[in-house]
């Protein structure tokens, strides 16, 4: 237990998991639409809505908002999404989404939001077997990217020492988009040199990085991977083959996984069938996930089938209903969680999809 998590983090997680989602929805929506202390952005939307959000009593009624227009987060003042109940001037960080396709979306995280994220992160560290008091290398995007906050989260939540290597995902994406793939290789080599420099003395127990970078490390410096006690992978897709190759290379070390982005995260629930099914559950109740039909984003797909991931942020300090992610996944209901999980996350593919197209 540390200052960052406050009193008894496990009890807090238990309380969250015990939360009634409809009641939570009412609390959050009414907070953001309070005429005096609501959030300026949502109060400004009231006249455009054909319903009164304060009448919402159930989570499923959030569908009435339709998909959240993410473009607004590229232009709005992030502070306007935060209820005026949070004292002004706001003190804290604005975090960006990836920004790999242009101007990033931006969100202000209040201290409560960071604490919420940190508690869940600690919960999944413990669940996956990462020991406190160890030494980490965080080789991920930092700067405007929330994943980089992991450096603080690990050190403060899990009493760890943390080395850091910075990666610029926007540069990688730009290189790929412009076909400069040899330079992608050069940049990866540049990152691997820095990672190896930290790992070679043998003082690091755990690495937090992306699957793509860890794959490159495994391919080029397998002995450094074998010497680790574990890796935590965040941010991009991981295939069953990658998972198997990672666990083999780790020689018994932990391979922890998380899925998410600036708006919300999901912890790995299970790895089944030797990596063929990798499932995640969201940081409930502040984050919920649905898997919806790609052609009709208001309709969930059947359990076990593929659709587009739709995220809803129901934080007291940030309300973002029905964000359509650029990912697809299997809908993964589970009796281990209050809401649906997602499994086998991949980048969204919009392509021909009727069985009649088979021939």
């Amino acid at each position: 237990m540390t200052a960052a998590t406050g009193a008894d983090p496990d009890a807090q997680i238990a309380r969250w998991l015990d939360t009634d989602l409809d009641e939570w929805t009412r609390t959050v929506v009414r907070r953001h639409f309070d005429p005096v202390t609501g959030s300026p952005y949502w109060l400004g939307q009231l006249s455009r809505l054909d319903f009164d959000p304060r009448d919402i009593t159930r989570y499923d009624q959030l569908a009435a908002f339709g998909p959240f227009p993410l473009d607004r987060l590229r232009t709005e003042d992030p502070a306007d999404l935060v209820p005026l109940a949070v004292p002004r001037p706001l003190v804290g960080r604005v975090w960006d989404t990836g920004g790999t396709t242009g101007t990033p979306c931006r969100a202000f995280y209040t201290p409560d939001m960071l604490r919420h994220r940190a508690l869940w992160r600690r919960w999944s560290f413990v669940r996956e077997g990462f020991q406190p008091g160890r030494t980490w290398l965080q080789a991920t995007p930092t700067g405007p990217h929330l994943i980089g906050n992991g450096v603080q989260e690990v050190s403060e939540l899990h009493a760890g020492q943390v080395y850091a290597v910075d990666m610029d995902p926007r540069w990688v994406k730009r290189l790929i988009r412009t076909g400069r793939l040899a330079e992608v290789g050069d940049y990866t080599a540049h990152l691997l040199e820095q990672i190896a420099d930290v790992l070679e003395p043998g003082r690091v127990h755990y690495v937090n990085t992306t699957p793509a970078l860890f794959q490159a490390l495994r391919q080029h410096r397998p002995e450094l991977v074998a010497a680790l006690d574990g890796v935590r992978l965040s941010g991009t897709q991981i295939s069953a083959d990658m998972y198997r190759s990672f666990t083999t290379a780790l020689q018994g070390g932990i391979c922890g996984l998380t899925y998410g982005n600036t708006f919300g995260n999901a912890a790995c629930l299970d790895v089944e069938r030797d990596g063929e099914l990798i499932s995640y559950v969201p940081n409930y109740p502040q984050v919920t996930m649905a898997v919806v039909d790609k052609a009709d984003r208001s309709t969930p797909v059947a359990p076990g089938t593929v659709g587009q991931v739709r995220l809803t942020v129901l934080h007291e300090d940030l309300f973002l209903p029905n964000i359509l992610e650029r990912d697809q996944a299997l809908r993964h209901p589970t009796d281990q969680w209050p809401t649906d999980g997602v499994a086998n996350v991949r980048p969204l593919q919009i392509a021909t999809s009727s069985p009649e197209g088979l021939y």
Binding site: G179, A302, G304, L330, G357
Partner: protein, 320 residues
């Protein structure tokens, strides 16, 4: 870590590949070349309505699908992306054979164009058709709802659906028999496909096979230069004779996507690129991640996915 290229079968009636054609000069040049070889205009290949006569329609449709698939291949090749293994279904098997170096592009397209001369079936022949069918997921040979029914054949096995709950198959045969079967089984179990009047991959295609046999015999096949997976049995085609045999049997023998992707997996494929729209996205279970490439934005998605999965991409030129 290697790439596999997958080519679907069948003949779509909708225009495909317009965006890729408009975006990439390499695709425009390629379509001009196909036009010169086949006598079809670029518009006919790309987007105009297909002819109404059955065999002519089939011929132009195959040219359309194969042209797009090879166009996608050429765009990827312009970024120095090349497959370590290749395979396809039906027409896609022939396209894959061509890209594996077993026959020239010109020979492939002249063969496809010449199939328009296949005699139309007699007007009083029983109508033919195809249907999509769902069955249980079982090990070994697929079990389908029309087994032992006269006039109904298993024409294709696409393997388990993405959720693993069912096996997706293609039945073909006499249209009346397929219609009767569809009415007899639980709704949605067998779905006849409207407008599909050729019982592909069944013995009913024997006249086509016999008509095309001398044309295929005249093609100078070579040994494939990369592992080429058969869709007719679990097999890597390694010789010119293997490929010729596939071409000869392709029209009458059932096809299996499972044989293709299982073989690719055994060849070390860790990312599959599906060339063109002929294998629908999100419906089937593949043993490795796949990216479907139908439009220009899918090219970037393929490159990004290859990077994320750790496939070497060094040395590629700029996207156009």
């Amino acid at each position: 870590m290697s790439l596999g290229y997958l080519f679907g079968g069948g003949v779509g009636t909708e225009p495909h590949g317009l965006e890729l054609y408009r975006t990439y000069e390499v695709v425009q040049c390629w379509y001009e070349q196909v036009s010169a070889w086949t006598g079809l205009t670029v518009g006919q290949i790309l987007e105009e309505d297909l002819p109404t006569a059955q065999e002519e329609r089939q011929s132009v449709g195959t040219v359309r699908e194969a042209a797009l698939a090879i166009g996608v291949h050429d765009v990827l090749a312009s970024f120095n992306l090349r497959p370590a293994a290749i395979g396809g279904l039906s027409l896609g098997a022939m396209t894959a054979s061509c890209l594996a170096g077993s026959l020239g592009r010109r020979e492939l397209f002249e063969m496809l164009a010449s199939s328009r001369d296949t005699p139309e079936p007699p007007a009083d022949d029983p109508r033919q058709g195809i249907a999509i069918a769902f069955g249980p997921v079982t090990d070994g040979a697929p079990s389908h709802p029309g087994e032992n029914l006269p006039g109904v054949y298993l024409a294709g096995d696409f393997g388990p659906t993405a959720d693993g709950s069912q096996r997706l198959m293609m039945l073909a045969g006499h249209a009346d028999a397929l219609g009767a079967l569809a009415a007899d089984v639980p709704p949605g179990t067998v779905v006849p496909l409207p407008g599909r009047t050729i019982a592909v991959h069944t013995p009913l295609r024997r006249p086509y096979r016999e008509f095309m046999a001398p044309r295929i015999d005249a093609i100078p096949f070579s040994d494939p230069e990369i592992p080429l997976l058969s869709c007719l049995e679990p097999k890597v085609l390694r010789t010119a004779a293997d490929v010729r045999d596939l071409f000869q049997r392709n029209s009458t023998d059932p096809i299996s996507l499972v044989d293709v992707y299982t073989g690719m997996k055994e060849q070390g494929v860790r990312l599959g690129l599906v060339m063109g729209p002929s294998i629908p996205e999100g419906i089937l279970a593949f043993p490795f991640p796949v990216v479907h490439i139908e439009r220009p934005e899918h090219i970037e998605q393929a490159l990004t996915t290859a990077y994320e999965l750790g496939i070497d991409l060094s040395g590629a030129p700029a996207l156009s």
